[in-house]
């Protein structure tokens, strides 16, 4: 066996694996950013949206045998409704929020979603058939699953949709205005309350998509939300909180570092790698590696 080639193929394999994982973190991070920009809240239930998306998709495709496309749309809509309900029932009614109270409220919501998921779907992990088979494709000696290609493609699509929405649609521009200066936006006649609701809806939608596409590969269970949320937050901070394109790059980077760490350091500490990076970034440069510290100063912590 040619060992140089072997090493190259291994690295390539880890890169593919890393980008695949990282795509999910990137999407979770985008979800964090949307809500953060609209409200200044970090939604601790972000990971639960991913779980709900994954589990709902499992039920629709595996139990009800619906087509992938139809289930996909249905699942995203379902999770969006959950996101809107969360905002209407738990965030909107709080008239005098303190940071601590908001943190605990979103934690409470995450516990509730987790509890409901456990009651409906049980505690076992759920597997789901891949979108288009499991026969791996060759890629410069490494192998790649069709599902992985789906993940790359969907992340790409989400990013494009994101850019179009925030740059070329009125609603998107209004949301950006709210993110930059809420009071000014309100004076300009933008309904900021509606924008908050919309941000929860979109962020839930992105979470659901992430959950749907990753489930065939990792098998979903009710308890995965916390870890996905934490790593997604790591990506969001690494990319500079509030900066969604930074989050995409950071998410992918985090995934790759994690995969390489698992391959060359220890697979047992794989989950810890992303978290250690998160802590380091928070401690050394809370504005993120890719974010600017000047912009950070303007935001409230």
């Amino acid at each position: 066996m040619n060992h140089t080639d072997g090493t190259f193929i291994d690295v390539l394999q880890f890169l593919i694996l890393g980008i695949q994982r990282g795509s999910i973190y990137a999407m979770v991070a985008m979800g964090f950013n949307m809500i953060y920009n609209a409200t200044g809240i970090i939604n601790f239930a972000q990971g639960e949206f991913v779980v709900l998306g994954g589990l709902m998709m499992v039920t629709l495709t595996m139990a009800f045998n619906l087509s992938i496309v139809f289930s996909f749309i249905l699942t995203v809509l379902f999770v969006i409704v959950v996101g809107i309900l969360m905002e209407r029932l738990t965030i909107n009614p709080v008239k005098h929020p303190t940071v601590l109270r908001l943190i605990i409220i979103t934690i409470a919501v995450s516990i509730i979603i987790k509890g409901v998921a456990m009651c409906f779907w049980g505690k076992g992990s759920h597997y789901m058939r891949h979108f288009s088979g499991t026969a791996p494709l060759e890629f410069f000696g490494a192998t790649i699953l069709p599902q992985t290609l789906w993940i790359f493609a969907i992340l790409f699509f989400v990013v494009i949709a994101y850019i179009i929405f925030f740059n070329y649609t009125m609603t998107g521009k209004c949301m950006r205005a709210c993110a930059i200066n809420r009071d000014a936006a309100r004076l300009a006649g933008i309904n900021d309350r509606k924008m908050v609701m919309l941000s929860f809806a979109l962020s839930a939608g992105i979470g659901a998509i992430a959950g749907i596409i990753i489930t065939p590969i990792i098998q979903m269970d009710y308890a995965r939300g916390a870890m996905l949320g934490l790593k997604g937050f790591g990506a969001a901070v690494l990319g500079g909180l509030g900066n969604s394109m930074g989050a995409v790059v950071a998410g992918v980077l985090l995934g790759v570092l994690e995969a390489l760490g698992a391959g060359y350091i220890s697979s047992h500490y794989m989950d810890a790698i992303a978290l250690v990076i998160l802590l380091f970034v928070l401690f050394i440069r809370p504005s993120g590696i890719l974010g600017s510290s000047e912009a950070m100063r303007l935001k409230e912590f």
Partner: protein, 338 residues
């Protein structure tokens, strides 16, 4: 301590002494022992969150470090349980110090996430460092605690011991909050700028109280290990840290009694629910322990939405018959905007 608080303390001591005469079933005494561990951790967390205003969703990690230090040193190196507990405390002081210095510069969401991340890392290490922690199989054969050569064998003995520790912790906490240091902490919570303009070293105070609360958690973990005689990573997941925050928040952040009530109430909740499930069964409702998580979450959410100051404050207001209670219900309190 003085006034109402010392009366409350007196009542606490009396209740601690009296309960084993009323409840004779060892199992329920055992449940109360677990409640004591949670009380201990929650008192520390209350000092940190309620008084100094710094959130931590990572105190389960300190409980874990205390428990694992005790477990490893006693079962593998045959140390005395007391010495192992002390060692756990020292390790936690070092860890809390190294974590606290950078972490406590962060505020709000960032601090919450940093501590949550820390808790998660500790849990991962407990699972993955198989040679040290036994991995998912955990550590068996942890000895019992002895008191002056007298081994605490029965649940009742352990009950008295652990609740004495809780009483001591309550005593310390009340002394602290009504002292110069306690006022300093509350000042930091009120306004960091104003506090430092009065000569309070904010960083040092935050780190000190972080360490103190971590030590409470560590002792709680060690006592847990000696009581269970067995530990594994299961109970030390992120959810445990969240649960501790829940207990403090449900009881009432700004009051030691609140934390105590929250910890006791939520520790007994699963028993209450399993008791309730026997009756629900009659009504045709099949309640499963699985629903507990849902109940915890709902309680937390309802408290945070309608009684943000916690049950204790809510109860106290109701007993005073004060109008402000209804004001709070409607969420119309002023002066709390941040």
């Amino acid at each position: 301590m003085k006034g109402k608080n010392s009366a409350g303390f007196f009542a606490l001591v009396i209740s601690i002494i009296a309960i084993p005469f009323i409840i004779t079933n060892d199992y329920y005494i055992g449940v109360l022992v677990f409640a004591a561990f949670n009380c201990l951790a929650c008192i520390g967390l209350c000092l940190l969150m309620g008084y100094a205003g710094q959130i931590s969703i990572g105190h389960g990690a300190f409980v874990a470090i205390g428990a694992y230090t005790s477990g490893i040193l006693t079962s593998k190196l045959a140390w005395s349980p007391w010495l192992a507990m002390l060692c756990g405390v020292l390790i936690v002081i070092v860890v809390a110090f190294s974590l606290g210095i950078p972490a406590l510069r962060l505020k709000g969401h960032y601090l919450a996430m940093a501590t949550l991340g820390f808790a998660s890392i500790v849990h991962i290490v407990a699972v993955a460092a198989v040679d040290l922690t036994g991995g998912p199989s955990g550590i068996v054969n942890i000895p019992r605690l002895d008191l002056f050569g007298y081994v605490l064998n029965s649940d009742t003995q352990y009950y008295y011991f652990s609740w004495s520790v809780v009483a001591l912790a309550v005593f310390i906490a009340f002394n602290l909050v009504n002292s110069r240091v306690g006022r300093g902490l509350q000042a930091i919570h009120g306004s960091e700028d104003a506090a430092s303009s009065l000569g309070i070293n904010i960083t040092s105070y935050k780190v000190q109280i972080f360490i103190l609360s971590a030590v409470f958690s560590s002792i709680s973990g060690s006592l847990y290990a000696y009581y269970m005689n067995y530990i594994d990573p299961g109970p030390f997941g992120v959810m445990h840290s969240v649960l501790l925050v829940t207990m403090v928040a449900v009881g009432g952040l700004h009051n030691i009694w609140g934390a105590l009530i929250g910890a006791i109430a939520l520790s007994l909740l699963p028993e209450f629910l399993s008791f309730l499930s026997d009756y629900l069964q009659v009504l045709g409702i099949h309640y499963q322990p699985d629903y507990d998580t849902l109940v915890y979450g709902s309680i937390l959410l309802i408290i945070m939405l309608f009684l943000p100051e916690g049950i204790f404050d809510g109860l106290a207001s109701t007993l005073r018959g004060s109008k402000s209670f209804y004001g709070k219900l409607a969420g119309r309190r002023t002066g709390r905007v941040q």
